[in-house]
């Protein structure tokens, strides 16, 4: 897990550096937009490489998350990503209802508590943000 993170940061660093290389660098007396990203890219690669070396030389065990705990984390993460994916399609009230009900149910709340909270949260927060604070929340296919 640790080595994977180190490897991922090294890849990210490489991609960043590759993206920084073609930018116009300018001359020393008049550095262009590509000058500083190049420095950052080199620094990024160096530190990420150092991180990888550290994980190889000294292995610390990251306690694995297993069983129910893992399911709860995955469900929460899925609810988060699902909300962002669905928001532009089904609109804020519907997405919020699904999000709150799904997450609460997955975290162990009863059906009654989950659904009641979901209705209250969807209606209450939509009223608060869209009507009072006039945030243009997506209304989605159901309300339009």
């Amino acid at each position: 897990m640790e080595r994977l993170a180190a490897l991922a940061s090294l890849i990210a660093a490489g991609v960043f550096l590759a993206g920084a290389l073609p930018l116009p660098r300018g001359v020393a007396a008049r550095p262009g937009p590509g000058f500083y990203p190049l420095l950052v890219g080199v620094f990024f690669c160096a530190t990420a490489a150092g991180f990888l070396v550290e994980t190889i030389r000294r292995r610390t065990v990251v306690a694995p998350v297993a069983g129910d705990a893992r399911t709860r984390v995955l469900v929460t993460a899925a609810a988060l990503v699902g909300f962002v994916l669905l928001l532009p399609w089904i609109g804020y009230p519907a997405a919020t209802f699904l999000f709150v009900a799904g997450m609460l149910r997955a975290l162990g709340a009863s059906w009654l508590l989950s659904l009641a909270t979901a209705v209250a949260a969807a209606a209450g927060s939509y009223y608060l943000f869209a009507s009072i604070l006039s945030v243009p929340l997506p209304r989605g296919v159901f309300l339009d």
Binding site: F44, V62, A77, S125
Partner: protein
């Protein structure tokens, strides 16, 4: 006495009804998020930042700052009563504070910590008045080389002091700097890494990153640990008064903690957390009865509690007088300044005295409110912990989503939020502090601009940075603290002493 007059003017601003109310709302929210383990001061400030758009600049900043120092009170309450630190700066308080609760002295611990926090807040305000004015004066002489040296030094210090592996902290810095290059660059407006997206050309928004790394990651951690019921002690009001002996034992620790806290706050790093550890170790070391520590020594509550409040005041100094935030919390305050079209820094005091002095004075007012609010209402606040945790976690996550969306009404910010949240959860698993990433994201553009201006001024001569005594001094301080522990270890090994190098605490 110019400073006194100015402070008087500041109180005039802070006591205006709208600002007084904002201050109250801020410290109330601060107390609540300090108590709730699900969301810390940084997440809460990020969450409420969008709702301050419509307010006057001074009012908005007074409220956000109130959340910051208010959380220091709330955090200690749960540390003492239930051994659950609401946020990191109260971890130390739990050591002695919870023991005192077990000994039946919970009320005394709460009072001493509230009074200590209040006194430290007052010392902090005096400190800001003295330091910030002086530093702002000095900063007028800072040129681009000094700003460059300061950002480099600050990031080095931060990665050293964040605890854990230094290499990992530096990777965090690198990620933050890299994210900071996205969008239009500060000098010519050239678009970098935008992939043709209009939204990306505005750069990566700080607030969703912070909400993700702190708020969403915390919710994921709660989901992992499952739902626990807190076991809450009951505190009766008449137990709130410490005995005369307890007051006597606490008075010097409070004084020392305030000063140490303020000074720690000036240094880049996790100031509030560090300050509590320093204060605790100090009290234990100079105590004539160190054996009482660990069994409910009131000094171990008084010192750290004063220190974390002192540190919140100290951390305001670099932000207000240099315009440079060295912690995620002050980074959000910088964001609030910028949103309202203000630039904190040496000129703020002269250009917007209402904002500068109003904010400073409001910290004093807010601390007084917190004292009144916290002692009688302790029981009420703690009962917040009885809220079912899954409901709380879900609602916090929902608030993060709506908050991030309402910044620019953009889906991009939601994706940044989700990605930061998942990364933040991973970082917790790896025991890596995300603070260097956040601060680097904010400092990156300042660093680039000052570096390029320096080179431009010196006609491409790198060595110009080293030709100015002030920038050299700043760099030397940063490097000394950064490399210091490693050098000491090497020296010890060379002398054939104990080769075992203690690892930095995780």
């Amino acid at each position: 006495m110019g400073a006194l007059e100015n402070l008087g003017f500041g109180f005039g601003v802070a006591l205006a009804p709208a600002n007084l109310f904002a201050c109250f709302v801020g410290v109330l929210i601060g107390t609540l998020v300090g108590i709730l383990p699900g969301i810390g001061p940084v997440g809460a400030m990020a969450l409420l930042l969008p709702s301050t758009f419509a307010l006057e600049p001074a009012t908005a900043l007074i409220m956000l700052a109130g959340i910051y120092y208010g959380s220091m009170y709330g955090g200690s309450t749960t540390s003492i009563l239930v051994n659950v630190p609401g946020e990191a700066a109260s971890v130390v308080t739990a050591i002695e504070g919870y023991q005192m609760t077990k000994n039946g002295r919970a009320g005394a611990a709460l009072s001493v910590s509230a009074v200590g926090s209040f006194l430290a807040g007052s010392v902090g305000v005096i400190g800001i008045v003295l330091f910030a004015a002086w530093l702002a004066d000095q900063a007028l002489r800072f040129g681009p080389p000094e700003y460059f040296a300061m950002t480099v030094s600050g990031l080095l210090l931060l990665s050293r002091l964040s605890g854990g592996s230094v290499v990992r902290s530096l990777v965090m810095v690198a990620i933050g700097l890299a994210l900071g290059t996205v969008g239009m660059e500060p000098i010519s407006g050239f678009r970098r890494f935008t992939f043709g997206s209009v939204q990306l050309s505005q750069g990566i928004e700080l607030v969703p990153v912070i909400m993700g790394l702190y708020g969403v990651a915390e919710v994921l951690a709660i989901a992992e640990s499952g739902i626990k019921k807190a076991n809450i002690e009951h505190v009766r009001l008449r137990e709130l008064f410490p005995t005369r002996a307890e007051w006597k034992l606490s008075s010097w620790p409070i004084a020392r903690g305030s000063v140490v806290g303020f000074l720690t706050g000036l240094v880049p790093g996790p100031a509030t957390v560090l300050a509590t550890f320093v204060a605790y170790m100090m009290e234990k070391k100079i105590s004539r009865t160190p054996e009482r520590f660990g069994k409910g020594a009131i000094e171990g509550v008084a010192g750290p509690e004063a220190a974390n409040n002192g540190a919140t005041a100290g951390a305001m100094v670099p932000l207000l007088s240099l315009g440079i935030p060295f912690s995620p919390a002050t980074a959000i305050l910088l964001g609030a300044f910028v949103i309202h079209g203000l630039q904190p820094g040496p000129l703020l005091m002269a250009q917007r005295p209402d904002v500068f002095w109003g904010l400073v004075a409001s910290m004093y007012v807010g601390n007084a409110m917190l004292l009144v609010l916290n002692l009688p209402l302790v029981g009420l606040f703690v009962s917040v912990l009885r809220l079912p945790q899954h409901v709380l976690a879900t609602l916090v996550l929902l608030l993060c989503l709506v908050g991030a969306y309402s910044l620019n009404n953009s889906l991009l910010d939601l994706w940044v939020l989700a990605a930061s949240g998942l990364v933040g959860y991973g970082l917790r698993k790896l025991a890596v502090d995300p603070a260097p990433l956040v601060v680097a994201l904010v400092l990156g553009p300042i660093m680039e601009k000052s570096l390029r201006q320096t080179l431009f001024m010196a006609r491409g001569d790198w060595t110009d940075i080293f030709a100015r005594p002030l920038s050299v001094a700043l760099l030397v301080i940063g490097l000394a603290v950064f490399a210091g522990p490693a050098l000491v270890a090497v020296g010890r090994r060379a002398r054939g002493g104990r080769a075992a190098v203690p690892e930095a605490p995780r």
